[in-house]
Symmetry: C2
Subunit: 330 residues, 2 copies
């Protein structure tokens, strides 16, 4: 692990973003300045994840120690339900983890204060304090990828809900019927606007004979329909790509409008895989949102892309661990 600055005698935190495919570890300070990073694949066998996490942390801690830096806290972001008080991962479907006392395991190994937090909520906190949401106290970080969820920051704090399960934005119903969702219901936002939903609509259109540049782009790439390919086709003016993006933006705008109307939010930040489309997706969401908002919100709610990009979860987890420690962030 290489450091991009002198860190001797610095009080720093480690932020770990434990994703479905990779584990990202960052060494950061209270200003969310990143001093070093490491990335390793997430083991496919869930029993090996715990050891991989400990091994990454050990390597990071040894590097920090050798450079004279002090690690005062560790924050770990998890794509699943976490009890923020006990640090137990209640369930993380993508990782195959259930009832894992991750905080205790990490603390017992390194004797460093550890905080475990939902990854999207961590990203929401990171963006609120050091990204696109700076200065806001009420915002939703909408993560659009394989699933759709929202990390809510209410009154300046991460909102967890009664049993730490809040944020299932993908499972608000935006139509009584509509396509079947993975949750078993119909008409969920996730079944209409997630990465797989977008790919599904494009595949269907092509199977039904619709001409599209995407057909060639997939053939060249030797891969399946993905956000990047849809974005590339849209930039080349492909009508199918543009239509599907427009429709997706409509579903997202409608749902985001409802969220703002009920929760009186100041800002929406869009992150996750599909957000890599950037303004191609975010501009139409912004334009369509006006018609779904109550009049009082029309001129003063911002919709912005995530600024911290794929670092937001790890940075947010580190910052959350610092707050948990009772230390002031800047």
């Amino acid at each position: 692990m290489n450091f991009n600055m002198d860190v001797s005698n610095h009080d720093l935190m480690i932020g770990l973003d434990l994703g479905g495919t990779k584990i990202l570890g960052l060494v950061v300070d209270r200003n969310a300045q990143v001093y070093a990073r490491i990335q390793v694949p997430t083991p496919r066998v869930s029993e090996q994840i715990e050891n991989q996490v400990l091994s990454v942390l050990r390597e990071m801690l040894e590097s920090c120690s050798s450079k004279g830096a002090r690690i005062i806290a560790i924050g770990i972001g998890i794509p699943g339900y976490v009890n923020p008080e006990t640090g137990v991962v209640i369930g993380a479907g993508n990782l195959g983890i259930e009832n894992l006392p991750l905080r205790k395991i990490v603390f017992d190994s390194f004797s460093i204060q550890t905080h475990v937090v939902h990854d999207v909520r961590a990203a929401a906190l990171g963006e609120t304090m050091f990204g696109a949401g700076r200065g806001k106290n009420y915002l939703g970080y909408v993560n659009i990828g394989t699933g759709i969820s929202v990390g809510l920051v209410l009154d300046g704090k991460i909102y967890n809900g009664a049993a730490s399960r809040a944020g299932e934005f993908g499972h608000i119903r935006i139509t009584k019927d509509g396509p079947l969702c993975s949750c078993g219901s119909r008409g969920c936002l996730e079944a209409l606007a997630s990465g797989p939903a977008v790919a599904g609509r494009i595949n269907n259109a092509i199977l039904n004979g619709r001409k599209s540049l995407i057909t060639d782009l997939i053939a060249n790439d030797g891969a399946e329909v993905k956000g990047e390919i849809v974005a590339e086709a849209a930039k080349l003016g492909d009508q199918l790509a543009l239509d599907v993006i427009d429709e997706t933006a409509e579903y997202l705008a409608l749902s985001i409008g409802s969220l703002i109307n009920v929760l009186d939010l100041e800002s929406i930040i869009i992150g996750g895989g599909l957000a890599n489309m950037g303004d191609l997706l975010i501009s139409p969401i912004r334009n369509k949102l006006a018609k779904y908002l109550l009049a009082e919100y029309k001129d003063n709610v911002s919709v912005l892309p995530a600024e911290l990009g794929s670092d937001s979860g790890a940075i947010g987890a580190a910052i959350a661990s610092c707050i948990e420690l009772g230390q002031q962030t800047n």
Copy 2:
């Protein structure tokens, strides 16, 4: 004003619910025990409302004083946007009030700590502490009347939102099209499941030749379609009434399901005019809700009618004033 118990040397609060048609004043203690009540019509001329409020309060305070009770705080519930910190009514459309510094006006008149709060949020607090939501920390009080709104209690506290405008549950979109709503959008919950929406669907069906007992009930009553009449017809087995209630319950269940999935709530309490239908409306909501909820909520979210009935707003406002004072409630 008559007292139903001896109140000499008691520390009590006044809760005032300033509604569109009536002003309800209650004298309550920290256990939400009601000792006396008064009700007067709300003046139709908005400029007279302020004087009517002061006159009701003066009468209540004189009665309390003559019985030897001490009023330690006044809470006022308002159907509109209130800045809870300054006690200014930013806007209350139904009352024709705008930018009224109500807390200051009341405090200047009586020198008693005064707290002004959104009426539905006050009701939510009242139900959480002393009604159907006892023991819960995360709940939504859904008020279904002329409009539809939700008072949210999150982490045990009233949730106001960024600019104290939270709770516009009537303006979540449950279908992309649908009937026009008063807000100018289409497909809002309020345009499908409020009192006027229910009446509108019944009127349309009757105009289109559908036979219903409601026709006779309206003729006998000499009035328009109201919740009570629909409920009466449904109890007599009228198919139109039953169909419309069923459809309304479906829209409400769908929306409530989305709310629970996003906010991880423990309980939903149903109040407001349409809730007077009781189990006729609440049972089908409860039954239909399961299919809109994520699996983890199916067995542990309760849907209950408001227990405090039409007193919930005034009781909640009184309790909020007591909390604001830093006094413990029981």
